[in-house]
């Protein structure tokens, strides 16, 4: 089937065409002057002998492997599948070390922030943040005021979205502190790649991602109320119709814990129980993938049947831990995000190790006017929400769309921020029978067990498939890439080939947890209204 006449170099033919859109973006494989960057040297050497037809063959093998693994995605749901691209993204050990430190710092700072906001609000009393910034947050949930988690952790799992600017420096695009989803893609992409390209893994020391569930379970058990000697952890899913059900089920299975729905649980005297065939079983920690608003009809949407009546007060009484905590959304509001430098300085006395993307705050009159003036060159985004909804790229929008956006911003300045069009970095991506530069972002996952913050080496790289597109959300037709964090050359760090299980049956919880039977679960971050 292969096209016999293609020359090897043809795979990358025209790759660095100076006429390509956003030509100033940082390409992660090619330096415009020095050629292939060291991190990608071996990958490039492996790829360049391939003929374009080989690419298709490999790509088909990848698709087959995905089907074999039973990874199917709901196409009609909100979250569309992330087709896996066959070229991995490579991050060197030193790049990763910097990124990891920045993420850990951010999670620590945001933990302190949430504890304060749902406690004494000292940062407001000290005049560092305006009160209105907090009280106007859609996800500032007053119901959570006074709830103190036993080990202090509210952000059991964080997804910190980062991009690389024109200089190749990582910057944070947004924080996700509620129920960040996508880690199942990270693990499944790795399994698939390992099956299809064992040769590539043989030439790289790629740090493993398969033990994510071990870290998650450790964090959840560590969060349990003090009385629970052998904490009973469950994963709470909205159900099989949720677009992220696959992830919920995968995580529950890998942790060896029950996957439950709201109707399987009930509260009595502020204790949460699971109904089982053997009777009632006390629950200590709920890793929930249900939005706050649906968690407890006593305190939120009274009509919701997804949650558990009495859950909020059970958590308040300290008898159960909700992970992630209720009200974390106040920490990932995109206007609050612009105050991260102040927040880190106030709580940690540190400057941010990872800068934000430059952001205009429409609620400040001066910046509001500038945004309206320059709306045709800026990206305007709602402060709340995910999936790319509501975002307008000034340069691509029609005058009519821009006018509509101006009106929206004028009506609700608090609801909008604006950013310069960020030139997301590019990575070679299979387009047709060639490799073309396509823009990517990265969502690393951080897990906080109260002692330390673990950042899974890798993360979900999302790639925008249409040429020149900067919108990587799956809902906007994006794909994904396996993300390789290389082990330091001189280290004994485990690499993907050093242990069993490559391409095997996925992660088992190797630690001495108490595996029970676990059904399935999934991940969802989008709002469910």
């Amino acid at each position: 089937m292969s096209r016999a006449s293609s020359r090897p170099a043809e795979l990358f033919a025209g790759y660095l065409d100076p006429q390509r859109p956003h030509a100033s973006a940082y390409d992660e494989m090619f330096d415009p002057v020095d050629g292939v960057r060291p991190a990608y040297k071996r990958l490039h050497d492996s790829l360049s002998p391939l003929r374009p037809g080989d690419l298709t063959t490999r790509s088909e093998a990848l698709d087959r492997a995905l089907v074999d693994q039973g990874i199917t995605f709901s196409l009609s749901g909100e979250e569309r599948p992330f087709p896996l691209d066959l070229v991995p993204r490579v991050i060197t050990a030193s790049e990763w070390a910097r990124l990891e430190r920045g993420i850990v710092q951010r999670v620590r700072g945001l933990e302190a922030f949430l504890a304060d906001i749902y406690g004494d609000q000292q940062i407001i009393k000290d005049g560092v943040l305006p009160r209105r910034l907090i009280t106007s947050c859609e996800h500032f949930h007053r119901q959570a005021a006074g709830i103190v988690p036993p080990n202090g952790v509210r952000i059991h799992v964080a997804g910190i979205d980062v991009v690389r600017d024109e200089q190749g420096d990582f910057r944070v695009l947004e924080d996700n502190l509620r129920s960040p989803s996508g880690v199942s893609y990270v693990m499944e992409n790795r399994r698939t790649m390992a099956r299809v390209f064992p040769d590539l893994f043989a030439k790289h020391r790629v740090r493993p991602v398969g033990d994510y569930a071990v870290h998650l379970l450790r964090s959840l058990r560590a969060a349990a109320p003090p009385g629970a000697t052998d904490p009973n952890v469950v994963v709470l899913t909205p159900g099989v119709f949720n677009s992220a059900y696959f992830e919920h089920s995968l995580l529950a299975r890998q942790m060896g814990v029950e996957l439950v729905e709201g109707r399987d649980l009930f509260a009595r005297n502020n204790v949460i129980y699971l109904r089982t065939t053997e009777g009632e079983q006390r629950v200590d920690v709920i890793y929930r993938r249900i939005d706050d608003e649906f968690l407890d009809p006593v305190h939120f949407e009274p009509d919701s049947v997804l949650g558990v009546a009495g859950l909020v007060n059970a958590a308040r009484a300290g008898n159960v831990v909700i992970a992630n905590a209720i009200g974390n959304g106040v920490g990932d509001d995109k206007l609050v995000y612009t105050y991260l430098p102040e927040i880190l300085k106030y709580y940690l006395g540190e400057a941010p190790l990872l800068p934000n993307v430059d952001t205009y705050r429409c609620w400040l009159p001066a910046e509001h006017d500038e945004v309206l003036d320059r709306i045709d060159e800026l990206v305007t985004k709602p402060v709340e929400g995910s999936g790319g909804y509501g975002i307008v790229f000034g340069p691509d929008a029609s005058p009519k769309e821009l006018q509509a956006q101006r009106r929206r911003i004028k009506t609700n300045p608090r609801g909008w921020i604006a950013q310069p069009v960020v030139q997301l970095s590019t990575v070679p991506t299979k387009v047709g029978e060639r490799l073309q530069p396509r823009h990517v972002d990265l969502r690393p996952f951080a897990v906080n067990d109260g002692e330390s913050v673990f950042v899974l080496p890798g993360g979900l790289t999302r790639v925008a498939i249409p040429e020149g597109s900067l919108i990587v959300n799956s809902s906007q037709g994006g794909g994904s890439k396996d993300t390789w964090v290389l082990a330091p050359r001189a280290s004994a760090a485990i690499s993907e080939l050093s242990g069993p299980g490559l391409g095997g049956s996925g992660v088992k919880s190797e630690e001495a947890s108490t595996p029970e039977r676990g059904p399935e679960l999934n991940i969802a971050q989008q709002q469910q209204q």
Partner: protein
């Protein structure tokens, strides 16, 4: 001079069929401040329950309780003894510039925002602006309260627990909850921070010691014009000995006296009675 009052508030639900489970929160405990001193409070339920107490974001004492024995009626009795005093109009009357300073707007942001119960309305705002002309903030509060008092007719049954300020205004009638919401909508439209107060009203100004009267579960407003003070638009009177306050919030939703989730058929509120006795 102070009054000492005993309040016995009986409320609850009657259900169509037996209810096996119910989860409830009561916000029925009077609080203490400069004007009011809570001496003792107790909450009882039939069937009996064990309440879990906590203080919510607004500072209100909440009694949360759940029920697992099948029941067709839930009765909640909140009893308390409080000392109350009158509250003269505050001597401080801030200027409009002070009320609208960046500092006040930030500090009282929650009491300036519109809500489902207290919506923004163009026509109401223009009435409020007219009433404001030539007045200080404090005078404006009194003028708006009086306008609401004169505009609405006190009438039960027209509005319900979910009615907004606009619903009541358009109907031309309502109960204390509606008077309070309508006043808040107008005060906020002219930038005066204001909040909803839930409490009780003793109905007899010259009650004798020892006399028990039928009181009311009542609502009024508090407003910030240099300091917080209360006013009762339903009766167009200042807050005095006869007012016992329980909770404040942005609107009714923040202070709902009794709310619950239960499994089973439809529920109707049982007759609410408030017995108030002047003890001293």
């Amino acid at each position: 001079m102070k009054w000492r009052l005993r309040v016995v508030h009986t409320t609850g639900y009657r259900y169509d069929g037996p209810v096996a489970q119910s989860y409830n929160e009561a916000r029925l405990t009077p609080r203490s401040d400069d004007r009011q001193n809570l001496m003792v409070a107790r909450l009882e339920t039939v069937p009996a329950t064990r309440a879990y107490k906590y203080t919510d974001y607004w500072g209100t004492e909440v009694n949360a309780f759940d029920l697992f024995t099948p029941h067709t009626e839930l009765k909640v009795v909140a009893s308390s003894v409080v000392e109350t005093a009158g509250q003269p109009l505050p001597p401080i009357d801030a200027t409009w510039n002070e009320v609208r300073s960046a500092e006040s707007v930030d500090l009282y942001a929650e009491y300036l925002e519109f809500t489902t119960y207290v919506p923004k309305h163009r026509e109401l705002a223009s009435v409020a602006r007219r009433l404001r002309k030539g007045h200080t903030p404090q005078e404006t509060v009194l003028a708006i309260s009086k306008w609401v008092h004169d505009t609405l007719k006190y009438q039960r049954g027209t509005t319900g627990v979910h009615s907004s300020a606009i619903d009541a205004w358009q109907a031309g009638e309502g109960v204390c909850q509606d008077y309070a919401h309508l006043t808040l909508a107008m005060l906020r439209s002219v930038g005066i921070p204001s909040r909803y107060v839930s409490g009780y009203l003793h109905t007899k100004p010259n009650a004798a010691v020892g006399e028990t009267v039928v009181g009311e579960s009542h609502a009024w407003i508090e407003t910030w014009t240099g300091e917080w003070w209360g006013f009762d638009p339903t009766n167009d009177i200042p807050i005095a000995h006869r007012h016992v306050w329980v909770a404040t919030g942005r609107d009714y939703a923040d202070v709902s006296p009794l709310k619950g989730i239960y499994s089973g058929g439809a529920a109707t509120a049982i007759e609410v009675t408030v017995d108030m006795t002047r003890l001293a």
